[in-house]
Amino acid sequence: MKLSAEQIDFIETALIEKCNFKDFDDVRMELTDHIATEIETEIENNKLLFDAAFVKVMTRWNSMILPKSWSRYESVPYMVCKLWKSLDWKFQFSAIPITLMVSLLAYYGQQNGISLYVFLLPILVLGVLANVYLLMSKYNNRVKSTLSSYALQKIFGQTLTLLAFLIINAFFISEGIRETILPIFWPSTYVSLLMLGKAWVMKKHIKIENQLLKVI
């Protein structure tokens, strides 16, 4: 027996209200379909009523979809949280060694008479471009996926941080201080790399958005 539109709505509403899937359209729709199929199987095989089948299936799913209070992303459903953590490793944490490597390269360049800005400016320009792309996406985004929500979280705070480093760097240039600002180099590079990573994630979201717009 196929579920009615109301019953499917009921499942989706439960995912939004109880499990906080509001901002993750792609996974929410995917889980709604999976849970609905499991409920249909329960109704058919075990002759249960919708309510009983719903409780039985959701009890099985609870640990995977409810947000975990001990997690870094405490209001994010556990399933999404797992993906976000893997993205953190890919972008946030891997940006640290890359920043250190670029800083080291810049330091040795500086020792050999190459200005720090030869390294810093291209990274900052890319960071700013990525940031503009993310801000534009924030306003043009028509559906919310796990990837877009990840890329756009804390975007305003990070934009302000990038802006602050741009101003500090501009101040050093205007004051003619060019060769002694390695401590500023590190966070500027890190924030820029972070923006590049998030822009990459956002680009991946576009594919999902196109697919979702086709069917909703």
Binding site: K2, L3, S4, A5, I8, D26, V27, M29, E30, L31, T32, D33, H34, A36, T37, E38, W61, S63, M64, M79, K82, L83, S86, L87, T146, L147, V201, K204, K207, I208, Q211, L212, K214, V215, I216
Partner: protein, 114 residues
């Protein structure tokens, strides 16, 4: 059974990719049922392991998604991308090597050909 599940755990991505290579495109529930059917109930992929694996492979660019409206709800199908196809070949080689080595250790007299 539980210990057996632990053994399968490390090969989950390869299993999913191989299935997608054979079937073209599949959705989550279909994958769990197909694995159950092929292994005659011996292997059970839990949703808690399946979806994080699918989402990670999608974010890594190994899987593409396609959405369709089926029975009044939206169904998300996964299929391999070009890099996913290459990755499947290399993972299958690794898995076959692993099985061969395990077989040599467990039963040195038996020879496997694949």
């Amino acid at each position: 059974m539980k210990k057996q599940q632990q053994l399968y755990k490390g090969s989950l991505n390869t299993i999913i990719m191989k299935l997608l290579e054979q079937q073209g495109k599949m959705y989550g529930y279909e994958i769990t049922q197909k694995v159950k059917e092929i292994t005659q109930g011996e292997m059970n992929i839990t949703e808690g392991a399946l979806y994080p694996a699918l989402h990670k492979m999608e974010a890594d660019g190994f899987l593409d998604v396609e959405m369709d409206r089926v029975d009044g709800r939206i169904r998300k199908y996964y299929k391999l991308t070009e890099s996913g196809v290459k990755e499947t070949v290399s993972r299958m080689e690794e898995l076959e090597n692993f099985i061969r080595n395990m077989q040599t250790i467990v039963n040195p007299n038996l020879k496997l050909d694949f």
